[in-house]
Each structure stands twice: as structure tokens, then as C-alpha cells.
């Protein structure tokens, strides 16, 4: 999605992808300003699977599996993007979130924001990640050689989302 006009539903759909496949952060970053002369800043975030110790603290995570709620996931990400678009002056947004089994080092999520100036790009990128972590219906399961467990939600993530003020996006 790259437009200064109010968001059409079609362009909102086009800027969100929920997929099993990997993505190319370089290509996605370039696409946010391709053919444009008015974009002065592109801020991006890439989230990766970390090889933390699992619940038993015995060995590292071998696989992290992301479950999601097909349909609601896309709708909630689109609602978050729409809210970012209303709060800041943006020229392009791209959100990609993967699901399924992932191993440490693999990419999970991409958020890219194009704007005229860095302030709006940085803020909107962080806002989208903070809201995504507390509102988009994804759940992580960690597996180690000793067994698996579902990852607990973190209060620090709620606090990070709360600092952006009263949400229009309910969570």
C-alpha cells in the first residue's frame, strides 16, 4: 500500500500478509519507496525466532510454532494499520506475519513504514509492533527436546501497547 489518499479497503488488504512462507526484508523495504519521490524515511522492523532456553531451562528451543485465527488475524492487522494511518502522516505500510513451525534464526514478522520524515516512520512502526503483539490472534508454542509449552503473554507487552493511549482497536 502506497498512497496519501484515505485508505481504500483494497489497499488495506494489500498491505497485510499472513503466510507460512518466508519473506525478503530487502525487497519489501525497497518496495515501500519504489517509484516515489515524496518518501523521505522508511523504518522497518524484523522479528526473529530466538534460541532461548525452553520452559525446562535444560536445552534451547528447537522449533517455535505459531498458531493463528485465520480471518480474524488479517482483520485485526488491517485494523491496526488503519489506526496507524489515521494517527501519523504515512505514505506506505507493509505488515507480514508468518505462521507454522519456525526454527531459531528464522524471520517471524516484518513491519515497514514509509513517510516523509523519520519521526512518523519510527513511531508508526513501533506502534504497529506494540499493537500487533497484544491484539493480533497469534499464539507461540515452544518445543525443546524435553517437551513443549505455550508461551505466556507478557505484561511488558501490554504496557508497551498502553503507552500509545486509548485504543480504537479493541484488544
Amino acid at each position: 500500500m502506497t498512497s496519501d489518499a484515505p485508505l481504500a479497503a483494497a489497499s488495506l488488504e494489500a498491505c497485510v500478509s499472513v503466510q507460512a512462507a518466508d519473506f525478503d526484508p530487502g525487497a519489501e523495504t525497497l518496495a515501500l519507496s519504489a517509484g516515489r519521490r515524496d518518501v523521505g524515511a522508511v523504518a522497518t522492523f524484523v522479528g526473529l525466532v530466538r534460541a532461548d532456553k525452553g520452559a525446562a531451562e535444560a536445552s534451547e528451543i528447537s522449533v517455535m510454532t505459531l498458531e493463528h485465527y485465520p480471518g480474524m488475524t488479517e482483520r485485526s492487522l488491517q485494523a491496526i494499520v488503519r489506526e496507524a494511518w489515521e494517527r501519523w502522516s504515512l505514505q506506505g505500510v507493509r505488515v507480514i506475519h508468518r505462521f507454522g513451525p519456525l526454527v531459531p534464526g528464522e524471520r517471524i514478522v516484518f513491519v515497514g513504514v514509509a513517510s516523509a520524515h523519520r519521526g512518523d516512520a519510527f513511531a508508526a512502526c513501533e506502534f504497529i509492533m506494540d499493537y500487533l503483539k497484544t491484539r493480533a490472534p497469534f499464539w507461540k508454542r515452544e518445543d525443546t527436546p524435553e517437551g513443549g509449552r505455550w508461551v505466556d503473554a507478557r505484561e511488558t507487552d501490554d504496557a508497551a501497547a498502553a503507552r500509545w493511549g486509548s485504543p480504537k482497536v479493541q484488544g
Binding site: 498458531e67 500487533l132 505455550w150 503473554a153
Partner: protein, 84 residues
């Protein structure tokens, strides 16, 4: 009325299935009523009752206990989200 109910993540795993179609008694008007109704099944279902950390959505929008349940709604129950 009849509704479709979905379960996700640890809740789906502990219940042993991901969805069911329920025919609800006429006394159930709100999501809170439905949660109490399901919690009365006992065992792992008690997680849907008050004081447990299970979130809900109606027709793919987050919903609180006062939200009205309508015929043919898609209602989902799940733990707090952990994506990103």
C-alpha cells in the same frame, strides 16, 4: 439458537478439539452467559468462567461479557495472544 464455537492454542489442546456447533438454550443472551454455560461442563471447561484468563471474539472481533450472542455467530475462545 445455534452458534459455531472455535478454540485456539493451549485451550484447543487441553479440550482436545478445535470447534463445535452448539444449540443454546433460550436463557443465553450474552457472551458472559455462554461462558458460564460452558464453564458448567466442569474440568478444563472451568477455564471459560470468571477469573480465568481466556479471551473471546464474536465474528472475529474481540468481545466482552456484555456482547450479545446472535444465531449463527462465530464465537472464539483463546488465551492472551503472543505473536510478533
Amino acid at each position: 439458537m445455534s452458534v459455531k464455537v472455535l478454540y485456539f492454542a493451549s485451550l484447543r489442546e487441553s479440550l482436545g478439539y478445535s470447534h463445535e456447533t452448539l444449540t443454546l438454550p433460550p436463557t443465553i443472551a450474552t457472551l458472559g452467559d455462554l461462558r458460564a454455560h460452558l464453564a458448567r461442563r466442569g474440568g478444563v471447561w472451568e477455564a471459560l468462567g470468571d477469573g480465568h484468563n481466556v479471551r473471546a471474539a464474536i465474528n472475529q472481533e474481540m468481545a466482552g461479557p456484555d456482547a450479545l450472542v446472535q444465531p449463527r455467530d462465530e464465537i472464539a475462545f483463546f488465551p492472551p495472544v503472543t505473536g510478533g
